[in-house]
């Protein structure tokens, strides 16, 4: 009589272990955050820190989505995105500041340049079969040089966007601005609505599955899942509400992240990215146009880089020669820490977001405890290595 009960508790234990393993990076993120909150005597938990995290890391989330798609196809990367950000910033400065082009037309032009570069890069990689890291190394070398040369029109090698308030408000402004330290109601309401939507979606999905007779998770699991995500959303938005409102860049990041989450998890084209990375020959013989997937990966990367370029220029209110430096490495690190396979075929947008946030939290925390900038780099390097080692070891044990 005892047996089934014992069995059940065993299953629960196994479930719990796999649950912990699945969410290990998220748990580490929370622990690291708590660690820095203690180290900074609460400064890390203040509204300003939340706002900084979003503003400082917006480009990682956006470029990270593109890098994720590239890496899914088989561990391919784009080395040129950082330098491309510099070039686009310089071109944007020329258009808006020197040639006096309108904001809307300039944004469209910058996106168009992204599309052109993406098509060229995609064609070279997918149809000429140049290995991606070589094809993008060319851009890595050329674009910063080109960008810096263009910036030479200004004696300071930098073009200021201070006169272009319209552009700045689109990419680095604040919606429903209120003074810092006061509660910004629209911001909180957006958070509450988003949390409600999450809860609604989870339970609607559950109801539909029950109706169709499919298996569902235990109700406790669903409650815990959406309860925690809703709480996290409300916490972030509540904190932001005291920092002056919703940063517009959060809207961009949110839109990009949600869009790519949907593409990768729900659509046929997203599925094709995974199977191309899993086994390109099997994908090809199953009728997947593998070259088209490679082409789209790099076209998509260039478009996202264009968006990230505009948020970056806007955040610093200037285009300069150092813009976008190491962006490619930051995006790759976010993916790798977030569990994206370096050989392709596995990884999620949510994982990348957690990875990017973890690195962002460590950066901000180290800055706030006044760690020497050189040692910050050392820590970042080891965090990256530790994350990958941890990932490989935990997967080995799972087998």
């Amino acid at each position: 009589m005892d047996r089934p009960a014992a069995n059940q508790s065993n299953i629960r234990k196994a479930d719990l272990a796999s649950l912990l393993k699945k969410n290990a990076m998220l748990i580490i993120l929370v622990l690291v955050y708590i660690f820095f909150t203690i180290m900074t005597k609460g400064r890390m938990f203040r509204p300003n820190s939340f706002a900084s995290l979003i503003n400082q890391n917006a480009y990682v989330y956006i470029i990270g989505c593109g890098m994720l798609m590239c890496m899914l196809t088989g561990g391919n990367i784009d080395l040129s995105c950082g330098a491309f950000v510099c070039l686009l910033g310089a071109l944007g400065g020329m258009m808006m500041v020197y040639w006096g082009m309108g904001t809307a037309i300039s944004i469209i032009a910058l996106l168009a340049i992204g599309v052109v570069y993406g098509c060229a890069l995609g064609a070279i990689i997918a149809y000429v079969h140049v290995p991606p890291w070589i094809a993008t190394l060319a851009g890595y070398l050329a674009f910063r040089g080109l960008g810096t040369a263009i910036l030479g029109v200004s004696s300071t090698n930098s073009i200021s966007f201070n006169s272009k308030q319209e552009f700045l408000s689109i990419f680095s402004g604040t919606l429903f601005k209120t003074p810092e330290g006061t509660l910004n109601w629209p911001c909180l309401i957006v958070g509450l609505v988003a949390a409600a939507l999450v809860i609604l979606l989870v339970f609607r999905n559950r109801a539909v599955r029950l109706k169709k007779g499919y298996e569902v998770d235990q109700i406790g699991m669903d409650v815990a899942k959406c309860g925690l995500s809703a709480a996290a959303i409300i916490l972030v938005m509540y904190k932001l509400a005291y920092s002056g409102g919703i940063p517009t860049v959060l809207v961009w990041v949110g839109a990009v992240v949600l869009f790519y989450s949907f593409i990768t998890s729900k659509t046929t084209i997203g599925r094709h990215f995974y199977v191309v990375g899993g086994n390109i020959e099997a994908a090809r013989l199953s009728g997947v146009d593998t070259r088209r997937i490679m082409f789209i990966a790099y076209l998509n990367m260039a478009i996202l880089t264009s968006i990230a370029a505009m948020t970056t220029v806007s955040r610093f209110t200037a285009a300069n020669a150092d813009a976008g430096k190491n962006f490619e490495m930051d995006a790759i690190s976010a993916c790798v820490v977030g569990g994206v396979s370096a050989s392709g075929g596995a990884g999620t947008v949510l994982g990348m977001v957690i990875g990017a946030t973890l690195i962002g939290v460590i950066n901000l925390g180290m800055f706030q405890v006044n760690l020497d900038a050189n040692y910050q780099r050392v820590v970042k390097g080891f965090v990256l290595l530790a994350a990958v080692v941890f990932d490989i070891l935990s997967k080995k044990k799972a087998r």
């Binding site: 539909v208 729900k266 046929t268 599925r271 086994n279 020959e281 099997a282 013989l285």
Partner: protein, 514 residues
């Protein structure tokens, strides 16, 4: 008492779920050429891998006695140190390197810090002369033909001071003339006292060079035939040992199926090798399949069967493909893409399920829907529940053993992986199923289930082409059999009239006339 250079006693090797070798005994005398024959999957290669230490001591049962001493090899290095050198069927040469560099790869001349190139090339030249090659050892390997590359492999083995040379299908990629030269070279080495083991499908060659022939079937040694008599042993005698197996209930009964019109017709189909475009891999082949019919294509490995099927499947293999393709009586010109072939109702179920059939890092569900993703999605958005239901349906239909369809395919056994592969193409609802070695590397029970699936496919009116190198399977499952050898169709028989001996005879004859 005879002096054995090598004795392998009671070797048993088990892989998860399969007993690959079961109490195998092999005795090789010093200075003889010993042939090892058997069908594909009989265990010849496994046995040689045990001998050379690829499967280290402890992973098998039984003893290896070499030169009077018991050996416990942990790696291929250990066995090579004693002079046991294996030359694999696939040539393992680096095309961009010179012959000399290749010969001493991993065995470099000179001292620890620098390679002594003078010694390397002068010694390499010496061994090249021994195998009858006049090329300089500074020639790049890609610049010499396959026949000469095979000789370089042998020279490489000699350079390792080989005492026991194992040649795995050394002539499989050679033409008649090169093959004969190679065999004569072997006889020459024998005179100088070298001991050799040759694995071969070409029985006429075996009868020509071997002193003794050991037959392996289903992982056990059947017999060792002495070839010292005045007359060389007859090929029929060897075949009897190879194929004489019991056939009780290894195949499900075929129900009478109404056979309909011709579904797929291929005329004068010729395919060239993608890397060596002057080489014909498929040579002027014509065939057809009717609805509800199972057509077997029998041929040994390397006969061009896979290449034929893949070239039909949207030119997935080969270059300069010529010939006509008719589907349902209408001529079609498929674009060079698998998706175009799929649109025309063709499915190619690969022989290499791990290499190009399945995405091992993905779930059963993802693999099942892969070739027909549109059917479980609307406006490119996948309906996850529907996809799950489809995968469940095929799991039940094909009796795939797995706790859930979310299981990664890489964690399944070979037989279950094969079922997932079949499920993928059954769900794709194709009319023409090209099955390439559908039962390779899976155990007898799973084979039976795959045969049932094939019968069901035919009963549902599909046209099935089954490529196989297992004669009993071809005989039991097909309505009609094409026999393929060296890129050509050399015979066609109704299954009711075919026997194993007849088919083997056709292949041997075609080999002689060529």
């Amino acid at each position: 008492m005879t002096n054995y250079l090598l004795e392998m006693r009671h070797i048993t090797k088990t892989f998860p779920g399969v007993k690959a070798l079961d109490n195998v005994n092999l005795q090789v005398e010093e200075g003889e050429i010993h042939a090892l024959v058997g069908e594909n999957g009989a265990g010849k290669s496994t046995l040689m891998n045990v001998l050379s230490g690829i499967y280290p001591y402890g992973t098998y049962e039984g003893d290896i006695v070499y030169n009077g001493k018991e050996c416990k090899f942990n790696s291929i290095k250990d066995s090579e140190k004693l002079g046991i050198v294996i030359i694999h069927q696939e040539l393992a040469l680096v095309p961009e390197m010179t012959i000399g560099e290749n010969m001493y790869l991993g065995n470099e001349r000179g001292h620890r810090l620098a390679i002594d190139w003078n010694t390397t090339y002068s010694e390499a030249d010496k061994y090249l002369r021994m195998v009858g090659l006049s090329e300089s050892s500074k020639t790049q390997v890609k610049d010499i033909g396959t026949g000469k590359q095979q000789l370089v492999e042998i020279a490489k083995a000699l350079a390792k001071q080989a005492k026991l040379l194992i040649l795995d299908e050394p002539t499989s990629s050679l033409n008649e003339e090169d093959s004969r030269a190679l065999l004569d070279l072997m006889l020459g080495f024998k005179k100088q006292g070298m001991t050799m083991i040759i694995i071969s499908h070409k029985l006429n060659e075996v009868a020509y060079v071997a002193d003794k022939i050991t037959v392996i079937r289903d992982g056990t040694t059947i017999e060792t035939i002495d070839n010292h008599g005045r007359e060389p042993v007859s090929e029929e005698r060897i075949i009897k040992g190879m194929v004489g197996r019991e056939m009780t209930n290894r195949f499900p009964k075929r129900e009478k199926v109404k056979i309909g019109d011709v579904m797929l017709e291929v005329d004068n189909w010729t395919v060239h090798h993608p890397l060596y475009p002057e080489r014909k891999v498929v040579d002027n082949v014509s065939m057809f399949v009717r609805k509800g019919e199972v057509v077997g294509i029998y041929g040994l490995m390397g006969a061009g069967r896979t290449e034929l099927a893949m070239s039909i499947f949207g030119q997935s293999y080969g270059v300069n493909i010529t010939g006509q393709l008719k589907i349902n009586g209408r001529e079609v010109h498929l674009k060079k893409s698998a998706s175009d072939a799929i649109k025309h109702g063709i499915a190619y179920v690969t022989e290499d399920r791990k290499g190009n059939g399945l995405v091992l890092s993905q779930s059963i569900k993802v693999n099942t829907s892969l070739a027909h993703l549109d059917a479980v999605s609307s406006h490119t958005v996948i309906d996850g529940d529907k996809e799950y239901a489809v995968a469940e349906e095929y799991r039940e239909k094909l009796k795939t053993k797995t706790p859930t369809v979310e299981q990664l395919v890489g964690n399944l056994s070979g037989g279950n992986q094969q079922k997932v592969l079949l499920a993928k193409w059954m769900f794709a609802e194709q009319d023409i199923m090209l099955l390439d070695e559908p039962t390779r590397g899976i155990d007898v029970g799973a084979k039976y289930e795959i045969y049932c699936i094939i019968n069901d496919l035919a009963a549902a009116g599909k046209s099935v082409v089954m490529i196989s190198s297992e004669l009993p399977e071809v005989l039991a499952m097909s309505d009609r059999i094409y026999i393929m050898n060296e890129g050509r169709f050399v015979g066609e028989m109704k299954a009711s009239e075919a026997t194993q001996e007849k088919i083997m005879a056709v292949i041997l004859q075609s080999g002689r006339s060529a």
